[in-house]
Amino acid sequence: MEVTVLVQATDKAFEILEKARNEARELLYSSAKLTSEAKSLAEKREARAFLSGAQQSRLAFRNFTITFFILFAFWILLSGRFDLFHLTLGIICCLLVSYMSHDLLFANTRVGDIRIMVRRFFSAGPWFLGQIFSANLHVAYLALSPKMPIDPQIIRFTTKLESDISWVALANSITLTPGTITVDIREGEFFVHALDRKVAYDLNTGEMEDKIAHVFMEADHVYVQDVLDVSRIFGALK
């Protein structure tokens, strides 16, 4: 008789404990979301405030001209006509679009030289294509074999990258590689769905992350290549 009362009491205690744990977890998630949004807004405000007025307008002008040139190159790519009428129309349209949305393309103040980043981007391109090719072959083998040995899992990891463009670049290159899909990014943690153990292992070595950090000049540890590239520019300034 006492045993049943004891069992009922422990059941009740477990129920209360479960409810308390769920409430605590919800509270933690909601407060974390609030602080991360507030943190990103405060960061943006700080980044804009730490430039003075003249520097800000110079930055805006630089963004405007770079956007204008990129858009003009895109216009020439779209319309293959090089007579004066269409080129004038192109210049007017590019000026209009650059005026309307010049602060969209380069919204973050980035530390680092953009010429080095462009060069590194073009030299890291073939490696990504090679990765996509080999992962394609592996997923085709998995899909076409009769017993289909897949082992779907979700991986969670944090990255060392800092700005949102590099997060998005990493997420997009993970999704572009067959076998892995980025499901969500929550407060700096990536949730990636992988198809089987081999692609998960390839992801966990961190090679893709290193390449993207190399392109955007953002890693914590110093690359010898970074020092060599930057020292050439500093040497020219002397």
């Binding site: 319309s79 269409h86 349209c93 998005v168 990014i185």
Partner: protein, 151 residues
């Protein structure tokens, strides 16, 4: 539907793509007589770019870029361009929207004047379509409430 989206991927991708979408819309308007497109199609794509900005970056920032007042002004401005060109042809002594008479002002061959006149009215149509699409979406998403109703 008009909060800032929490998803950082969509926000960054939309932010990068919007200038290219707008330039593509202007390309479609300008090349109406060489390739498929024209005024209405380009206006729809331009309006879609503003709607994308509203969906991903929230209502407040979209209001800063293109408010309801500006959208109303743009829609009337487009119609003004269209009927203004027609009236100009009427003033010069021919029928309404008879673009051949514009060659006396622009000093080109009448065929070229017709082509330029059509380009002008297509631009007007594009501006109006963009403004109307954006303002319809804006009204639907705010449910018809105006800020002064909240006081």
């Amino acid at each position: 539907m008009t909060r800032v989206t929490d998803d950082i991927i969509i926000r960054a991708v939309a932010r990068v793509m919007i200038p290219f979408i707008q330039l593509y819309a202007l390309y479609v308007i300008m090349h109406g007589h060489h390739s498929p497109g024209g005024g209405f199609q380009g206006g729809v794509i331009l309006g879609a770019s503003f709607i994308l900005y509203l969906l991903t970056h929230g209502l407040e920032e979209a209001k800063i870029r293109m408010s309801e007042i500006k959208a109303g002004l743009f829609s009337s401005f487009g119609v003004l361009i269209y009927s203004g060109i027609g009236l100009l042809c009427l003033i010069l002594g021919s029928n309404y929207l008879d673009y051949g008479k514009l060659s006396t002002i622009l000093k080109v061959v009448p065929a070229q004047a017709r082509s330029l006149g059509i380009l002008g009215v297509e631009i007007g149509v594009g501006i109006t379509v963009m403004a109307v699409m954006f303002s319809v979406f804006f009204d639907i998403s705010t449910g018809g409430e105006l800020p002064e109703d909240e006081e």
